[in-house]
Amino acid sequence: MAITMNPARLTGIGIVVLLVAWAILAGALEPILSYRDDIVYLARQHMFLVLTSGGAAILVGVPVGIWLSRPSMERYAEGIMQVFNIGTTIPTLAVVALSMTLLGIGFPPAFFGLFVASLLPIVRNTYAGLLAVPPHLKEAATGMGMTQGQILRRVELPNALYVIFSGIRTALAINVGTTPLAFLIGGGGLGELIFTGIDLMDTGMLLAGALPTALLAVIVDFLMGQAQLHLIPKGVNPLR
């Protein structure tokens, strides 16, 4: 199976390549490489934040989306989704700031802020994806004698999987891009280089944080794209 390159991903990779080329031409590579140890240490912190908060958002968001899509929740689901939608309109910087007022500084508020920011697209896509499964499929499944659990596992989830994955992909993209803000509330990560670079007007330092962040975003998106391509059954996968 060939690795498909969609235009958006090509553009992303192109921008990173251009940035690197520009950095080299501008003679910024040397100052960037001088931060090598910092980059490695902070990138680890950064990825740890992304993996924990993103992972937690998936583990919580998908079940919540499933729960909201159940017929017993029909009366309340739309209302709850409205709350989630309003939540999405709050800027992530504000979410991070608010979580600091609740949890202080350090890893916990950074984790919580990123978790909340990535939770919304996952819940929304899981809920919408499950509701969009054609009713006649559920009717056929019921009429054939599947239990509610079997219908969910064998019919509803596989048919909603593409939409759910898209939600997770969006959430992780937001997550990686937002993680630099964690530095502002003492959560560490590559934001430390970016914001300090801005404050000191040190372009080399700024790029030492920004370039790895961009690279990380492209890698995460690429991995999610591959997962979407290979994990979703062929019959319901528009990519195959």
Binding site: H136, E139, A140, A141, M146, L161, P233, G235
Partner: protein, 377 residues
């Protein structure tokens, strides 16, 4: 056998109670197809879906093979009833094989047995199993999908099948083909089938019995022939259509009205012999046949009177002939197309079996009209 006893369904709506099924009593004998027919909103689909409890009945009883289904668990009941819907409902995330194996798997069949069954059923509807088993539904045409939809319902060999406008979404040409295939399958499988339709032509073609619904009540439950010949009330007459007698033409095959005693003569017979034979039998026309017993032409008594030579040389070519499996609709159509009063009829090998005349066709239609309507069940 399926028996409904005083089956009733009411829905409470803001505008009051709506009765979707009103004390429906009916019985479908084993191995027969019963069509539930009526305008939309007449309660036919509600009646069908109460049988596998997709819609729970308000009151009344349903018996399948003399067993009261209200005592059975919903899930078990449904696994033993084949169910086909208009939208087909193949699961797009599963291959054709997985789709067909859904119910066998639910019933705990051994995987190998289920797979063998899937291949067998695909071949039964003329889809090459090697080619189709591993495909996904979106890779099949509409007609192919509908065939898979039907065999999926047959997979676990249920005694009873419910079909909700199963061929409604297929183009008219494919629909005819699939209907014919289905009837052929049913002739062997002998399932007891409830079949919802809104198409009177489909009902007449497919049904052993037809139940006409209006506002949750059965207006008439009868054989297609009786229904068309003796509509019980103006609603039924209106629903089956002003051309209902023409529709009955489909119910009779050429074989049933053919006159097998019609004179047939070999090509080499002398004209004089034929003239004498026609005179003695009181017939006016003789069909000329070749060495393989195929009809090739005809001679009339008037024309050969006094002529000499073989009838093979005197014969007119036959304008048309019909296979004896054809229904009378096709026969009449041929007669009108060629402006003739009679047709030669052939069997599957093309051999001559007899002659069909227009009076014989009208006589066949008259037979049901004069027969006592008491025969209606």
């Amino acid at each position: 056998m399926i028996r409904l006893e005083k089956l009733t369904k009411t829905f409470d709506t803001p505008n009051g109670t709506v009765v979707a099924a009103d004390k429906v009593d009916m019985e479908v004998p084993s191995g027969e197809i019963c069509i539930l027919l009526g305008p939309s909103g007449c309660g036919k689909t509600t009646a069908l879906k109460m049988i596998n409890r997709l819609i729970p009945p308000t009151s009344g009883k349903i018996f399948i093979n003399e067993e009261d289904t209200s005592k059975q668990d919903d899930i078990q009941l449904r696994r033993n009833i084949g169910y086909v819907i208009q939208q087909i409902g193949l699961f797009p995330n599963m291959t054709i094989e997985e789709n067909i194996c859904v119910v066998p798997k639910l019933l705990g069949w051994d995987t190998k047995k289920a797979k063998t069954r899937a291949a067998e059923l695909l071949d039964l509807v003329g889809l090459d199993s090697r080619q189709f088993l591993q495909r996904y539904p979106k890779e099949l045409s509409g007609g192919q999908q509908q065939r898979v939809g039907v065999i999926r319902a047959l997979a676990a060999d249920p005694p009873v099948m419910l079909m909700d406008e199963p061929f409604g979404a297929i183009d008219p040409i494919n629909r005819e083909v699939i209907q014919d295939e289905f009837l052929k399958m049913q002739a062997e499988l002998k399932k007891t089938i409830m079949f919802v339709s809104h198409d009177i032509d489909e009902a007449v073609k497919m049904g052993d019995k037809i139940a006409i619904f209006r506002a949750g009540k059965i207006e008439q439950y009868d054989s297609p022939d009786n229904l068309l010949a003796h509509p019980a009330n103006p609603f039924v007459a209106d629903f089956v259509g002003a051309d209902r007698t023409l529709k009955r033409l489909r119910l009779v095959t050429a074989e049933e009205v053919v006159n097998a005693d019609a004179p047939a003569v070999a090509r080499s017979t002398g004209a004089g012999d034929v003239a004498r034979r026609l005179a003695s039998e009181g017939e006016r026309i003789a069909v000329v046949i070749d060495g393989d017993h195929r009809p090739v032409g005809y001679v009339t008594a008037d024309e050969i009177a006094g002529s000499t030579g073989d009838v093979g040389d005197l014969a007119h070519p036959l304008p048309a002939s019909v296979p004896m499996r054809a229904d009378l609709r096709a026969v009449v159509s041929e007669m009108f197309a060629h402006d003739i009063m009679w047709l030669a009829c052939t069997n599957d090998e093309g051999r001559f079996v007899g002659v069909i005349t227009q009076p014989a066709v009208t006589a066949a239609l008259r037979a049901t009209y004069t027969a006592p309507a008491a025969g209606a069940a």
